[in-house]
């Protein structure tokens, strides 16, 4: 335990069923503080479900059963915390940029307002800080009152990141955040993620193996609901222990 990095999230024996369909099978892993964990795997491997378990958005799925334990800073998020508290501390950025049908300012201020902050000056401060952290401030500072839906795809995604940051979470989950973006926008989002490493623990689900290699400190490989392997990014891509991982990262899979 000497120089072991601090554990932010611990997942123990996680099993998730949608009705009779099991989508996660006995997953156990942990996420360190201030690291970026890349999560890769083919379609239907359970990556997105795994992410939605971590902030309890999975609660919204009808007929879902979650067994096992998920700890945030050592506290069981299913037994000891309510869903809103979990989601405040564990933010999420979705695959498709999904601003709310509000102005840019109101999109970012939405979270803080819901948690009781209505002081105009403080809100403006948070909005500016969050937009800056998401590398969007310079592009939108003159039109904060226009609708968030009028931004380009890449800008919308960074707006969603800013919106998530405004709540000051501890963990940020990304669900394939660049799947709909061009390479330049992707680069901007990745730059934001690096910048955010100083303060946040981040988990990135991606279909793009190269992105996981570029951004991830460690990478987890999921296959058909099972966690096949989790290791330092360098090892996963150069010397994986499991042959299936090797097949996937080298593109021989499926």
């Amino acid at each position: 335990m000497v120089s072991e990095p601090l554990l932010k999230i611990e997942v123990k024996s996680l099993n998730v069923h949608y009705g009779s369909l099991q989508v996660l099978k006995d997953v156990t892993l942990s996420v360190n503080k201030n690291e970026i964990l890349g999560v890769i795997g083919p379609a239907n491997s359970g990556k997105t479900s795994f992410l939605r378990v971590l902030n309890r958005l999975i609660d919204l799925t009808p007929d879902v059963r979650v067994r096992g334990e998920v700890h945030l800073d050592g506290i069981n998020i299913y037994a000891k915390m309510n869903a809103e508290e979990v989601r405040k501390r564990v933010g999420m950025v979705f695959a498709l940029p999904q601003p709310l049908p509000l102005s840019i300012f109101d999109n970012v201020a939405y979270g803080p307002r819901r948690h009781g902050l209505h002081h105009a000056g403080k809100l403006a401060e948070i909005v500016e800080k969050s937009l800056k952290a998401a590398f969007l401030w310079d592009e939108v500072k003159d039109r904060l009152s226009t609708s968030g839906m009028q931004l380009s795809g890449g800008q919308q995604q960074r707006l969603c990141i800013a919106r998530t940051l405004a709540v000051e979470p501890e963990v940020i989950l990304y669900d394939e955040p660049c799947s709909g973006l061009d390479p330049i926008s992707t680069a901007k989002v990745e730059a934001a993620m690096f910048e955010l490493k100083k303060r946040y623990t981040q988990i990135l689900v991606t279909n793009n193996v190269k992105q996981a290699a570029r951004v991830g400190d460690r990478v987890a490989f999921f296959l058909m609901g099972e966690l096949v392997e989790i290791d330092q990014a360098g090892r996963i891509f150069t010397a994986p222990r499991d042959k299936r991982t090797d097949d996937y990262v080298t593109g021989r899979f499926g």
Partner: protein, 288 residues
Amino acid sequence: MKRQVESAIEKFILLNGVACIFFVVLIFLFLAREGLALFKTFSPLDFLAGTRWYPISTPPKYGILPLFLGSLIVTLGATVISVPLGMACAIFIGEIAPRWLREILKAGVELLAAIPSIVIGFIGMMTLAPWVKYLFHLPTGLTALSGAITLAFMAVPTIVSIMEDAITAVPKSYRAGSLALGATHWQTIYRVVLPAASSGIVAAVMLGIGRVIGETMAVMMITGNAAVIPTTILEPVRTMTATIAAEMGETVQGSEHYFALFAIGLVLFVISFLINMTAGAFLHRERK
């Protein structure tokens, strides 16, 4: 060949659209011609501001102010009752109820819409009116309030089904986005879902009001039909629609009374038109 079929279908649809407008214009012209004919023999001011409706006296009095106010108070009352009720019901069905309950409730609401208005009026007359009479110690239960409650029941299915459609049509991503920021279920409904569905909600309310203001038979059975200017909602009133329905049968085509009833129809038309205009303006502003 394919192109010909295509263009034939297009023309057919165009014809339908044009026919629709054509008929609306035709109906309006007919209404205007018959309604405005009254003012050749009767002053428009006495018609609009007159407080006495005695169409079969000599000389007749065609003052529609009590009828107008009667319609107004019943419509307002029904709106005040049906909009919150319908909205709460739509939110519950669209956002809160589990799937099995949702299906049952939707079927129930549709069933409510399928009840003929005269049946609702009859039930209102037999059960609601005595209850209103007893509760407020009134000489009669046939009051504007009874009418408003009855009409609210007729407007609720319209309001619920259209509002529920609008709420369900809000993209799931809005809800997920809001919830992912730690907002509660209620905050998400109130701050995101309802604003996003607002145009549909306004349309639902307007159609509900439209249903109420145009309703005739039930209102005739339950409001008492006394053409007095109402001072409270606990008094009998006579609505414009009930007046047309009750008196149209007896009038001789081309008589002054006949024209007067068409003039009421014209007033109703103008009111509906204004409601639609208001709704349109509101929706337009919403979209910006």
